[in-house]
Symmetry: C2
Subunit: 196 residues, 2 copies
DNA sequence: CGTCTATTTGAATGTACTCAAAAGCGGTGG
DNA sequence: CCACCGCTTTTGAGTACATTCAAATAGACG
């Protein structure tokens, strides 16, 4: 396993010496998933935070009437977990499935807590990650509330073009909070507009 | 000015000695606002993160067609800023107005950066704050996408009962992403249901 | 008391959903 | 290599949720 990518992610925010690097890496566990495998199932304990080394994952919530809402996608160099349940150690409300053959590096809650104590610089690293996630999520809320589906779809394509190419329309629709049927209609309308 | 409330907020997450407390407090500036005053206007630089000592604030975004979307409310013991613009020091996209006579403690970006260096424990403190904000915001996204307005309104009342009492329906509507007219209709429907 | 804003009401409209069915597409086994 | 299976995407009709606009009513505050 090549740890270069996770280390350069970390290095973008904090500097570690040899020892700290070794300790950090010693806490990581490799896990490989085949397309459609689950990294986490709703109801199970959520014990790890996961760095995506390769592939792609989708976190989603299933409501009472079985409608799926996609909470987030994660591709290479992203972290993913059910944050609410990871931090409070209650059963997951979210499922995470591989939408491609995927390899993740797992960091267990207990080990992360130790890491915070042994190498406090990681508080900073994760503070910045959480801050970015918060900002991203707030922006998403804003767009959900202020823009119609067509605009949200176009913005999504613009913001995550690489991700969009890997995803089915059904998956994108569930991220935008619309039905696949309606996304299909939106796309039709857009393509007509483009002919101009 | 009584600093007990901000200190006990901090103390819920990290322990500080006398010196650290003094240093932290020395970075804070008191600002009082009257109802309808602005703490931040869209377009201005967003230089501070603000702890609400008393009163209530509303952060909102005005889109191209002048529709207001409320991003968050903050009452006593909450922090508020335009996080995206605070961290990247670009002009604010958000305005923050007092919806009551309000008193905040302001911490400037530069001072926060110094604080992180001098007292790294604050990385932990804000890491936890950001983490909670992220989780809260993610949950909000989930509910926006999966629940109709009536359910979102009832959940809001349930989750923030004290806040709801301070807010007008117009303000609540703009947080839920619906028009005041429709919120009025929703309330009418609910009250009819209750007669049962 | 008057003014300003919030809230309610109603009609017409638009956005998005449900359900059902057809068409397209990718993989798998024969 | 083709035929079939399962899943995604498209299409369309009917419906539900939410908006717009306008006007009436109610509250808050100086």
């Amino acid at each position: 396993m090549d740890h270069q990518s996770i280390l350069s992610n970390v290095a973008r925010h904090i500097s570690l010496d040899e020892k700290e690097i070794d300790y950090f890496l010693s806490l990581l566990t490799v896990k490989t998933l085949k397309k459609k495998d689950y990294l986490l199932k709703a109801g199970q304990p959520c014990t790890t935070i996961n760095y995506v080394y390769s592939g792609a994952l989708r976190a989603f919530h299933q409501d009472d009437s079985d409608n799926e809402v996609t909470i987030m996608f994660a591709v290479a160099d992203w972290w993913i977990t059910d944050m609410a349940c990871f931090v409070s150690q209650i059963p997951a409300m979210t499922s995470i499935e591989a939408i491609d053959d995927t390899c993740v590096l797992q960091l267990a809650k207990d080990d992360l807590d130790k890491l915070y104590i042994k190498v406090p610089k990681f508080e900073r690293y994760f503070r910045i990650l959480m801050q970015n996630s918060y900002v991203r999520e707030q922006l998403r809320t804003l767009q959900n509330l202020s823009s119609p589906a067509e605009e949200r779809y176009l913005k999504f394509l613009e913001k995550y073009p690489a991700m969009a190419r890997q995803l089915t329309q059904k998956q994108i629709a569930s991220y935008l909070g619309i039905t696949p049927e309606f996304l299909s209609a939106v796309r039709k309308k857009i393509s007509k507009g483009i002919i101009s």
